[in-house]
Amino acid sequence: MATRTQTLATGKLGERKTTGLWRDAFGRLIKNRLAIVGGLIVLLFAFIAVFGPLIAPYSYREQDVAAVAANGNRPLGAFSEGHLLGTDKLGRDLLSRLMDGAQISMTVALVVQIVVLGIGIPVGALAGWFGGRIDNFLMRITDVVYAFPDLLFIIILSVAFKETWFGRALDGLLLVFIAIGLVAWITMARLVRGQILSLKETEFVEAARAIGVSDRKIVMRHLLPNGIGPVIVAVTLGIPGAILAEATLAFIGIGANVPRASWGSLIDDGRAYVRADSHLAIFPAIAVALALLSFTFLGDGLRDALDPKLKGKQ
């Protein structure tokens, strides 16, 4: 009895925390170890991407010709003096080049997703909300884009614009990002359309209409925030795809202009020496793999955390 009165007296009524949806989701996310590890590595990569040039031991184009010459004109191996991950044949420090490559890969992650969101959300929302002819029209366009071979489209675009200002912007990378984004938005458009389709039948939308909220506001304030969970997950899971696409393009020679190198072009460069100096291909490959895994783990964690069905469990 005494304890009960005590609980009542110090009860939690007054200090009850407001637990919003996002706080709930965050609580579930940090309980997921893999997601946290993934998130930390993503943060690390992001840090390197922003501050890489400042903290890298060398510039990405700086050549240690003397060291290579002393090594009998062969690339320095890993853990050589002054070059933790060795150098390439021209004496450029691999670690520094990887750090510079991180900038490219993270920019891909960001810019491509911005393009994807910028096209996917409006297209999906318009199609889902208005339905009928508009839906049909927009979805047939996405079908056409979907049916067109991605790689071919990107290659055609890259070749066509290579010599314009657009093709040269950001060391030739802007073109690559936009090209990847232009084929990647379909999934997002379909996802958002599906979300809007199911959400617009809900009663709270009817309730919003009944107090005179405009269509535009219903979509922006009532529908999109409700469908944002799967969108965040799709973005996180779409990033590895974009990084991979950029690496693939770099590998076949489309993308960053020399002497800059993305992870993909580093792998391509290292390919030539893979028997004698395998570290030149292996370290960039590890970097790509690590980034992909981290984003995937984070995305999976977010999906679980934002899934309303899991609410209150765990």
Binding site: T18, L21, E203, F204, E206, A210, I211, G212, S214, N226
Partner: protein, 372 residues
């Protein structure tokens, strides 16, 4: 005569009305409505006049005559019950009044709706938003799904006030907090920041009522407001609707299939069956001397306290007719124990009974009919 005078208006509610910025006034009727919204005077003989309203749903199986030639009136401040079994057109009638019938497949195919003298059917869909929320509040059946889970309760209450009254954030917040405490939610200021999932079902329905009343509407449409709630909460919610509508001078259309609720809340009751009004009258007349076998059946199927133990509840035999092709007969005749040949040959009109304003659609209870 003003509808919302000094004591009728909720304290703190601003007298001035601003039109939402994004509503384009295109039609003549819209211009009239916009000017009428500037004050809270009465502009017509009746708050609501519905004439020959027909709402159909065009489905793959055929045209469903969900609401068929329905006419009724509603006085300022009056509470009208709309009763009937599931699928008889109660909710579609209410949705039609605000033109919220989902289109497609639904469409108001005929009829006239005069709200405070404004012909609702002539307004553009954009102009309709001036009425919704501002003059007509809506309470939905299921409070668990009628609130947006991602927005705070405070935001959802202030939304309509900010649209229709042009209130600043601060003023709208104050008004919302006041409304919340009015509908009986303790610590209203703190709870504004909470999300719907932190409220119980009864509390959420209170929030819905606060939303519906946010702009001090002239008409409150309550579509089975207590069906999803348990009985004790039901009584509280109904009492709340009653006291607030009295305080604000709001007319109420209460949709329910529970005759007990209708009897306790309403001034007048419309009984609907198969898309039509089959009986209408003052609540006392209708419950004392129902003039239509369907209304008897409804009253008869209520459970009673003095019932003999073990006795089965009475029901009305049969099912309501298919609304795709209701036929020309009296729509209740297939289930009516008193039906005669005349009932199967043509449908009776709503006709006067002994009491003023008491009408029924039945040959048998007409003067000189065979049912006494």
């Amino acid at each position: 005569m003003t509808v919302t005078d000094d004591q009728g208006q909720a304290p703190g509610s601003p007298a001035l009305t601003e039109l939402p910025e994004d509503v384009e006034i295109a039609t003549e009727e819209g211009k009239r409505l916009a000017s009428l919204l500037q004050d809270s005077e009465r502009h017509a003989r009746k708050l609501l006049e519905v004439k020959n309203l027909s709402t159909h749903f065009f489905t793959a199986d055929g045209t469903v005559h969900a609401v068929d030639d329905v006419s009724f009136e509603l006085d300022y401040g009056e509470t009208l019950g709309l009763v009937g079994e599931s699928g008889c057109g109660k909710s579609v009638t209410a949705l039609s009044l605000t033109r919220l019938v989902p289109d497609p497949p639904g469409k108001i195919v005929a009829g006239e709706i005069l709200f405070d003298g404004v012909n609702v059917m002539k307004l553009s869909s954009n102009e309709m938003r001036l009425l919704r929320g501002k003059r007509i509040g809506f309470i939905f059946q299921d409070p668990m799904t009628s609130l947006n889970p991602t927005l705070t309760v405070g935001y959802q209450i202030t939304e309509s006030a900010r649209i229709h009254m042009g209130l600043s954030r601060k003023a709208a917040d104050d008004r919302a907090a006041e409304l919340l405490s009015k509908v009986g939610i303790p610590r209203a200021k703190d709870r504004m920041r909470d999300y719907p999932h932190q409220f119980s079902g009864g509390m959420r329905q209170r929030v819905m009522i606060a939303i519906a009343l946010a702009c001090d509407p002239m008409l409150l449409l309550a579509d089975e407001p207590t069906t999803a709630l348990d009985v004790t909460i039901q009584a509280q919610i109904l009492e709340l609707i009653r006291s607030l509508s009295e305080e604000f001078g709001t007319a109420v259309i209460l949709i329910t299939h529970d005759l007990g609720i209708a009897a306790g809340m309403c001034n007048r009751v419309n009984v609907m069956y198969a898309g039509r009004i089959v009986e209408t009258g003052k609540v006392d007349d209708l419950f004392e001397k129902p003039q239509m076998p369907y209304a008897w059946g409804l009253l008869d199927s209520l459970p009673r306290l003095d019932e003999i133990k073990g006795e089965r509840l009475r029901t009305i035999e049969g099912l309501p007719p298919d609304l795709i092709d209701p036929g020309a007969e009296c729509r209740f005749s297939p289930r009516c124990p008193y039906a005669r040949d005349v009932c199967r040959e043509g449908e009776p009109e709503l006709s006067e009974r002994a009491e003023a304003g008491h009408l029924a659609r039945c040959f048998g209870t007409e003067p000189g009919g065979w049912i006494q």
